[in-house]
Amino acid sequence: MANDPQVNVQVGRLLRANTRACVAGCLPSQNFPPFGSLVSIDLGQEISAYGLVSDIHIDDDGLVRQLVTTPNISETVIQDNRVNRNVPVELSVLFVGHRSAGVISHRLPPRPPLSLDRVRACGEGDVCAFTSAGSLGYLRFILEAQDLPAADLLAAHLLQAGRAQRDHGDEQWFARAIDKVITQLRDDYVRLMPVLEALADVQRELGI
């Protein structure tokens, strides 16, 4: 992981949190992680929380409200608003596990992070390590989450993780993940079928 170029890329700092989720703030100019990607937050004492970007929220401010109806806004003004804006882009993060003393667990972190803790994007190595640990139990957090587009969040995550696993030589991981999703949702036909249809697109994209 130390050689992974994407490890420890800070993408923002924590705004607020609870035991199940948190919200981080970042500038639009920062290369913030895409929807569904895995992030980690160092909680101290050798504990890190893992979560998935479950929502990206861009709030307006007073200046934007004025500018939005102005005709012919110059590119300089747009860039200035984006780089120097006062209201940050909010990344909602759904916790899906944690690492404690080097051991990855697919349970919620023991405590939420504190405000202004650094939120970092996970590199492929970290993604592989987290998604290979255990038996994919963390998928339940996605499937059980309320008020989230579970199918799309899952699809986005499995695309990232499936690609990472494939590139690291495990082409069966994606099938195992699907199997797990079916196990979790098979008693709910109405929910499962749209999820699988979304995952069918991912499979095509992964080419496996």
């Binding site: 099938a175 699907i178 199997d179 079916i182 098979r186 036909y189 699988l196 995952l199 069918a200 499979q203």
Partner: protein, 573 residues
């Protein structure tokens, strides 16, 4: 999922069920890996359970998964993953036996368990009827050769006869011939289902085993001499051809009888004195006799004697009259009417009986003075261990069959009863068991006749006197219930009629589950073994009755037993 199963590979797990409602096993693979009638073994902790597959049911965890093919919405691989979890097959298993196999041999408890058995503190485990059920998620397997041998016996054991092979894996299934002859048995199947071949095979096994004498009432001349198969046109070896005249003798009915142009070993000719009133009474339906028959017969015996009534009655003239001095016509002294008047019998009843008995009077095999007591000769041959095939030759009518078989059986019954009583009174040697093979059994054992014939008595109680029946029939529903219930071993080929199926299964546990199986047997190839004589019901591919079978009988003396094959099945390569 559709790969062939390896030996000792679990086919599924127990998910529900009970003793009354059968066990449900969720299959791991496709339904085609198991077939109805398969012999199933379930491993549950220290016990093994043995049962028979009676049904396969397609199931889904939600009906919508079954109704809409997943391949219509999803790519092949995803659809496969979905189907594997949501669609499955339930195997319904009728549990029959359980066997304590003890702890795992390498566990700490095993040696203590073994010691208890060796020291006599605990009985040696043996298969027993199910009194419990396996636990949830116990693994189910298709029975291996060792399991089949554990339950049905090893082919190499002297008293075991390989009657067929298990459906999927061709493990030999044995019938214990010693047990078979202890009670009456039956072979059933619709016409064309291979009954005759099966019977020939079983009889060959019995004759080869030679623990009992066999008397076959061969109504259609099928069993003694070589025959030609009606469907293939191939030669079918007869029992005498197979074993030789020193073991099997063909007896022809009538003084000059020939069986398909060949002379029998000896002829059976009945004397007038052999015919008793009860022999006539059981022909009531065949001869359309009236209610008055018994009265007339009784008067005949009373007035003419038990040994002479038939001859005298035959000699009487029907309607003969003479004229008296007063020109009045009166019955002649040698007429039926004269005898009736003399003995207080209704003339019309006597004349009616005489008319109807004319069919008997004219039988060429009933003569006044037979050259020898051929019935006694036949009985003696059986007592000495010979096997007899009584061929009816040209006398294939029901009348001939009913009369001769019952008359002969009556004599045999009396003889064996006497021998048994002498043996029990320490005045004689133990009688040799006798198996009487009755074709078209419903003619002799139907509800109407059963009470009158000797056969029903034999089925009910002659086991104590060393005589049992092997009944062969295509309409078991026509056989009297009380007789059917006495049949120990039932070997049943395909039956189409619901009543026949019901009759064959009467008195057996799990008959509802077995009912469908009987109606779906493959004609000529499959039989279901049932009843007291087999440890549990099992469906088998019957052996082929061909020259190979006879080679097995002659060479190994253990028909169908291929030692190399058995060892391979038991221990693998």
């Amino acid at each position: 999922m559709s790969e062939p199963l390896h030996q000792n590979e679990s086919i599924g797990i127990v998910t529900s069920g009970g003793l009354k409602e059968n066990l449900h096993v969720r299959l791991n693979g496709t339904p085609q890996q198991v077939q109805e009638g398969s012999f199933i073994v379930i491993d549950s902790q220290d016990w093994k359970f043995y049962g028979i597959a009676t049904d396969l049911q397609l199931q889904s965890i939600d009906p919508r998964y079954a109704l809409e093919p997943s391949r219509a919405r999803l790519p092949e691989e995803l659809a496969g993953l979905l189907d594997r979890q949501t669609l499955y097959t339930n195997l319904v298993v009728l549990p029959a036996l359980m066997l304590e196999r003890g702890p795992e041999p390498d566990s700490a408890d095993y040696s203590a368990w073994r010691r208890a058995i060796d020291s006599g503190d605990k009985e040696e485990p043996r298969p027993m009827p199910v009194k419990s059920i396996p636990a949830h998620h116990a693994d189910a397997f298709l029975a291996g050769a060792g399991d089949v041998a554990e339950i049905f016996g090893k082919p190499e054991d002297e008293s075991n006869f390989v009657i067929g092979y298990t459906r999927e894996q061709d493990h030999p299934v044995c019938v214990n011939l010693d047990k078979l002859i202890q009670r009456s048995s039956g072979i059933f199947g619709a016409t064309g289902s291979g009954k005759s071949f099966l019977t020939r095979m079983l009889l060959a096994g019995l004759i080869d085993h030679n623990r009992a004498s066999v008397l076959v009432y061969d109504m259609h001349n099928e069993y003694g001499l070589d025959d030609t198969a009606s469907d293939t046109g191939e030669n079918v070896r007869g029992l005498r051809s197979g074993f030789g005249a020193s073991k099997v003798q063909v007896v022809g009915l009538g003084g000059s009888a020939t069986i398909r142009g060949s002379a029998p070993d000896f002829n059976l000719v009945l004397g007038y004195s052999d015919i008793l009133p009860e022999d006539v009474e059981l022909l009531t339906r065949e001869l359309n006799l009236k209610e008055t028959t018994a009265t007339v017969l009784d008067a005949l015996v009373q007035s003419l004697g038990k040994d002479k009534w038939f001859k005298a009655f035959k000699a009487m003239k029907r309607g003969a009259t003479e004229t008296t001095d007063g020109d009045k016509k009166v019955p002649a002294p040698d007429s039926v009417a004269f005898w009736a008047n003399q003995n207080g019998v209704n003339v019309m009843a006597a004349e009616g009986l005489h008319d109807k008995l004319r069919r008997l009077f004219n039988k060429p095999y009933i003569v006044e003075n037979p050259p020898a007591d051929s019935i006694q000769a036949l009985v003696e041959a059986l007592k000495k261990g010979k096997h007899i095939v009584l061929s009816f030759g040209d006398y294939e009518s029901d009348l001939d069959y009913l009369l001769v078989s019952n008359l002969l059986t009556r004599r045999i019954r009396a003889e064996w009863e006497q021998m048994t009583n002498e043996f029990r009174g320490k005045n004689g040697s133990e009688p040799r068991p006798l198996v009487i093979v009755v074709e078209e059994a419903h003619k002799l054992l139907n509800r109407e006749m059963a009470a009158q014939t000797t056969f029903s008595t034999i089925a009910r109680e002659m086991r104590k006197y060393y005589v049992t029946l092997l009944v062969i029939d295509q309409r078991p529903s026509q056989i009297y219930d009380e007789v059917m219930s006495q049949l120990g071993t039932r070997v049943c080929g395909w039956l189409g009629d619901e009543d026949d199926i019901h009759a064959v299964l009467s008195g057996l546990a799990g008959r509802e589950a077995l009912r469908g199986m009987l109606s779906r047997l493959q004609a000529k190839e499959e039989v279901l073994l049932l009843g007291w004589g087999v440890p549990m019901p099992i469906l088998v591919h019957s052996r082929r009755y061909d020259e190979l079978f006879w080679q097995d009988i002659k060479t190994s003396k253990k028909a169908g037993f291929d030692q190399a094959k058995v060892i391979k099945n038991l221990y693998g390569d």
